[in-house]
Amino acid sequence: MAALFPPWSNRALRIALVVVGILAVSALCFPMVYVRTPFVTNEHVALDQPVAFDHRHHVLDEGIACLYCHTDAERSAYAGLPSTDVCMGCHSQVWNQSPLLEPVRQSYFSGRALAWNRVHSLAEFVYFDHSVHVARGVACEHCHGPVETMARVEKTVPLDMDFCLDCHRNPKEKLGFDAQRDFSAMRTEDGRFPAHTGHAVTELTTCSTCHR
């Protein structure tokens, strides 16, 4: 009687086992990788905005500093978008007939706010504070990328927890601070905290730094 399985079936079974193993691992890993892809984090998606505002022109050509419009970055948790009257401060004098600025003039005279599309959004549970980051010398570009080269603003970093912890775990190395401006100068130098959980925690990586 002929063999029930042909001679190649052993190899086929082995290959099948390997493939099933790879698939099982991929099924686990795929979602973890997938959520980190720009497809989900919305990196490099340049959004259309109600006004064709061009940072290249305002920052590079005119030399206007970030804080001229995003005034609250130094004093509040929110950097803020400029109110319409800030735009009109200049544009009532220059380009005051430009059709590109029609939505701004409409907003100014009708009193209805411009509806900008949010580009940089954080997870819901995070209390991020602009002022302390600016005060400690984190450059705007660090999180927002080279905005001055963008025609339409886009996200250049994932802004996920990994990204935040990257600096919070080792701000000195990441930002090249001198000792005087070091975060840890305020409190203990090496606040390692292995109690209870076994995780090394410093004051900047303690949960309530961002989650309250």
Binding site: Y78, F125, R212
Partner: protein, 954 residues
């Protein structure tokens, strides 16, 4: 709440839904939710989005102002704090001040005007009101008692324009007895001012002076300065019918029925009169009147002798305080005792009465006859609810006899239902106004927000009637202030910058040094004789029980009846939530053969009231206490059917009356939180007497770090947060509980879930009764997360959702929590709360009250006290921005900030200057359940009672 989750699905439909959800679940990641950003068009000056600002304003109740600071986030008020500079607050805020912000966003607020002939616009109603005032019979205006110079000016103008107009002031808790007593003894009504920081021995006669007097917050601050254990510690005696927060802090207290209270006060005064030096102060007529009183029981008489002895020993630094709800006779006896003790000018002074405008005002009791006679044209109720609080006047039926009736109301209350027209009343955070504090300090009410709906304040209404609508109350209050400063019209200011003065005062919230000057009245003690003879010779053995009406510690007089925070707030002593009850002693309950939860029927004349019974140990025997403010009758409202309305018995507040009490077989469904979150049998709170404490300091387990632990050790360094709570200073008044709720977005769950022990308070106050069950000692212990260094909750969490921070906080990470509830099971202090349902799902305007710095928790998540981590991190961010260290005392928790006695101290263990650390080093500091090895960061200080030798009665 639970009905939301009772879906009626068939098995197959459920299967379909599950399959569809699974299949589509991947799609959610495909399209990111796009948010919009709406910047201002024109940015308001002074607004920085994300940075809270505080404005000074005032909370006014019954004509007395308390200065507060209201926190505003982008223009919406979210939280009330005390105004540290204001003399009636000194930085503290009480339960009612804290909760008042929720009323602003109450969904039950009167939505729009409602009038006859289909009038619905505010303007048309105002026109109608003005017209009604001028035609027909004479109009009648019913107002809350007021001290507002602007309102009084408007009333004067109103009377000038409508000379026939009649005005009544109505407040269910009006403290007329003290004015009657001062008028009798001094010839004119006066406002007593107590100085507890100077008082070494205090006798409180039915006086909850830490809680329900116009200057209570100040009293509490002053009182606390004399309660540190040591030779300067004051001694407090309390004689009261029901157990009050002040009574729990008294060194000794005795429960006395209202009639006994009069005789007790007389006995104390008679004892004082026997002392040689004091005897001369009292005329013989008074002495012989005092002798008329029926003798007290043996215990009471011994207590009276002892109190008199102690008071006499502290002559010049003694103080006798009679509560606002005591009858005139007790007030007179207290004044005479103070006079005999030489307190006047030292611990007691007098100023002019704060509420004014009473000249020419008619008592409300005359309104029914006028209505029956058809003698009332336009009848206007502004900010009062007499249909609810004075049912004996039968106004609900009689209001229709007025030619027209108007009600200015915050919510559709009983009076609004009875009136033909209703106007929405503006909240104090929406309106301009002024008022005087309990010492006469002129305070301003400043709005923080445009009225959410078209509405008017009582001042706006009266000013509109007097000068024509629409009235600008801003201008009106400014003009009053100009007149007070003696300035003419705006153009005539020469050499005086009114604008600068006005802005300074409004910014501060009050006018500095504007309190009334102390007056020095001449005492005429013999005028007390007829009153005392009558009060003391009243028969004491009539049948039935004595009825004692009290201010509700949660709803005040009922004006907060739609405030969900206050409805759910457990009573400080009975721990009853969502309702009130007839409070009796255990002996009285045994006489009735009934127990807590049984319904009894109270009868006064022809009036009946069925109320649930609650046994309150320490209550006077033979009397029943009912708290006002509950039992509202307006259907579809939150307060409908919550508790019983004590006013139905027709006994005015502050009078002694007898009621028949008949047991029934009915049972009531009470939400008592007393046995919720029960801790272990062993004592978790300690108390000592001053003598034993100074001679033999206790040895509580101090060296907690030496305890063995299985957990890895960690060396804490740098800023380390910790809290010390002095049980000697906690009266259990609940202000911290509401402050925590407002600060931390803690939800209200409703009566059904409270009964299931699912209330969500991060901070609760545990009340312990010890000693004699009939005269117990009371210990109030605020219980909140202890932030254990070896926290039992942390190592049982499978997902690390509760972990420790380097600065010693036990952190709760909501986004990690999967709701196993292992942590709360393992917590020995039972301070963790689980969101069984979507409690945060408030709708509409209530959302605007939320603190944006604190996560609103969702269903299935554990939560607990964070030591106000949002305030810690905010202070740290500020310090880092300014390149400095945290300043001592820079971080203040919400509970600490509002506490009037300063029972709660918070700070860092590395800050040697902190009050928290100083307290922690006292020998009486102890850690709750220290034996468990949790090493809590919160320490309690044992309660110290300053006894004089033997204790009476226990």
């Amino acid at each position: 709440m639970a009905e939301v989750f009772e879906l009626h699905l068939r098995r197959r439909d459920l299967g379909k839904l599950v399959a569809a959800s699974l299949a589509l679940s991947g799609l959610t990641a495909c399209a990111e939710r796009r948010e919009k950003i709406f910047p201002y068009v024109r940015r308001p000056a002074g607004v920085v989005p994300g940075v809270a600002t505080h404005y000074a304003t005032s909370v006014v109740r019954d004509g007395f102002a308390v200065g507060v600071l209201a926190e505003s986030h982008e223009g919406r008020p979210t939280k009330i704090e005390g105004n540290p500079e204001h003399p009636a607050s000194l930085g503290a805020a009480g339960v009612f001040e804290q909760a008042s912000v929720l009323d602003l966003y109450d969904p039950a607020r009167v939505a729009g005007s409602r009038g006859p002939l289909g009038l619905t616009s505010r303007e048309s109603l105002e026109r109608e009101l003005s017209a009604a005032f001028g035609r027909g019979a004479a109009p009648w205006l019913v107002l809350e008692p007021t001290s507002s110079p602007s309102l009084l000016r408007a009333l004067a103008a109103l009377r000038a324009r409508f000379p026939r107009a009649r005005v009544s002031f109505h407040a269910p808790l009006a403290a007329d007895a003290r004015y009657a007593a001062t008028e009798r003894l001094f010839g004119r009504p006066l406002e007593p001012q107590y100085r507890f920081e100077r008082a070494t021995v205090v006798l409180a006669l039915g006086a909850d002076f830490l809680h329900d007097m116009p200057l209570s917050l100040r009293h509490a601050r002053d009182f606390a300065t004399r309660r540190a254990p040591g030779p300067a510690m004051s001694r407090i005696y309390a004689a009261e019918t029901t157990l009050t927060p002040t009574g729990t802090l008294a060194d000794e207290r005795i429960g006395l029925a209202p009639s006994e209270l009069v005789r007790f006060a007389a006995a104390v005064l008679a004892e004082l009169a026997k002392q040689g030096e004091l005897a001369t102060a009292l005329p013989d007529g008074v002495k012989s009147a005092l002798a008329r009183g029926a003798p007290l029981g043996e215990t009471e008489a011994a207590f009276a002798r002892k109190v008199a002895r102690e008071l006499a020993r502290a002559r010049g630094a003694a103080l006798v305080v009679a509560g606002p709800g005591t009858p005139e006779s007790v007030q007179v006896l207290a004044l005479l005792a103070n006079a005999a003790l030489g307190s006047v000018g030292r611990t007691l002074s007098f100023v002019e009465p704060v509420p004014s405008g009473q000249d020419g005002a008619l008592p409300l009791a005359k309104l029914p006859d006028a209505l029956r006679a058809g003698d009332v044209g336009a009848l206007v109720f502004a900010g009062t609810n007499p249909v609810y609080s004075a049912p004996e006047l039968a106004l609900d039926e009689l209001v229709a006899r007025a030619q027209s009736s108007f009600c200015l109301a915050h919510v559709e209350n009983e009076t609004a239902r009875a009136c033909g027209s209703v106007l929405p009343e503006a909240h104090y955070l929406e309106s301009w106004g002024d008022a005087r504090a309990g010492d006469g300090t002129l305070s301003f009410v400043q709005p923080l927000i445009e009225p959410l709906r078209p509405s008017a304040s009582a001042l706006e209404l009266v000013a509109g009637l007097a000068f024509g609508f629409p009235a600008s109350t801003h201008e009106f209050v400014r003009d009053t202030e100009r007149a007070r400063l003696g300035l003419g019209p705006a153009s005539a200011d020469i050499g005086f910058d009114f604008e600068a003065e006005w802005e300074r005062n409004v910014q501060r919230g009050f006018v500095e040094h504007s309190e009334f000057a102390a007056v020095n009245p001449t005492l005429a003690p013999e005028r007390a004789v007829p009153l005392l003879e009558q009060a003391l010779s009243a028969p004491s053995s009539a049948s039935g029980f004595e009825l004692h009406l009290a201010c509700s510690p949660t709803l005040y007089d009922g004006r907060f009846s739609e405030n969900a925070w206050l409805l759910e707030l457990p009573h400080p002593l009975t721990k009853q939530s969502w309702g009130n009850a007839a409070l009796v002693s255990s002996r009285t309950a045994a006489m009735l053969g009934r127990h807590t939860g049984d319904v009894v029927e109270l009868t006064h004349g022809t009036r009946r009231l069925r109320a649930p019974l609650v046994i309150l140990p320490g209550h006077a025997d033979g009397s029943v206490t009912l708290e006002l403010g509950f039992g509202h009758a307006v259907a579809d409202q939150l307060s409908h059917g919550v508790g019983v309305n004590a006013s139905v018995l027709g006994v005015p507040f502050g009078t002694v009356a007898r009621v028949e009490v008949r047991p029934t077989s009915a049972k009531a469904d009470l939400a008592l939180t007393e046995d919720h979150w029960l801790l272990a049998e062993e004592a978790v709170a300690h108390e000592l007497t001053l003598a034993s404490y100074t001679q033999n300091p206790p040895k509580y387990e101090h060296d907690l770090a030496a305890q063995p632990s299985l957990l890895p050790s960690f060396e804490y360094a740098g800023t380390q947060w910790a809290m010390s709570i002095d049980l000697s200073l906690c009266s259990g008044c609940n202000a911290c509980v509401v402050a925590c709720q407002a600060e931390n977005n803690t939800p209200v769950v409703g009566k059904d879930l409270v009964k299931n022990s699912r209330e969500m308070y991060w901070l609760r106050i545990d009340r312990y009764l010890t000693g004699n069950p009939d005269a117990p000692r009371v210990l109030q212990q605020p219980m909140l997360c202890q932030h254990c260094e070896k926290a039992p909750c942390e190592y049982v969490c499978p997902v690390n959702a509760t972990v420790h921070s380097t600065d010693g906080l036990n952190e709760m990470v909501y986004n990690r929590c999967i709701g196993t509830r292992f942590c709360s099971n393992n917590c020995p202090y039972k301070v963790r709360r689980f969101n069984w349902f979507d409690f945060s799902g408030a709708r509409g305007a209530t959302l605007l009250q939320r603190n944006p710095d604190v996560t609103v928790r969702e269903r299935g998540v554990m939560e607990k006290c964070t030591y106000c981590v949002q305030r810690i991190r905010r202070a740290e961010i500020l310090a880092r921005r300014e390149q400095r260290r945290l300043r001592p005392g820079e971080v203040v928790t919400a509970c600490q900030q509002t506490c009037a006695t300063g029972a709660i101290a918070f700070g860092s263990l590395d800050d040697e200057s902190s009050e928290m650390l100083r307290r922690r080093r006292e020998p009486r500091a102890f850690a709750a359940f220290a034996e468990l090895g949790t090493r809590p960061r919160t320490r309690y200080l044992a309660k110290i009672r300053n006894l004089d030798g033997e204790e009476t009665g226990s």
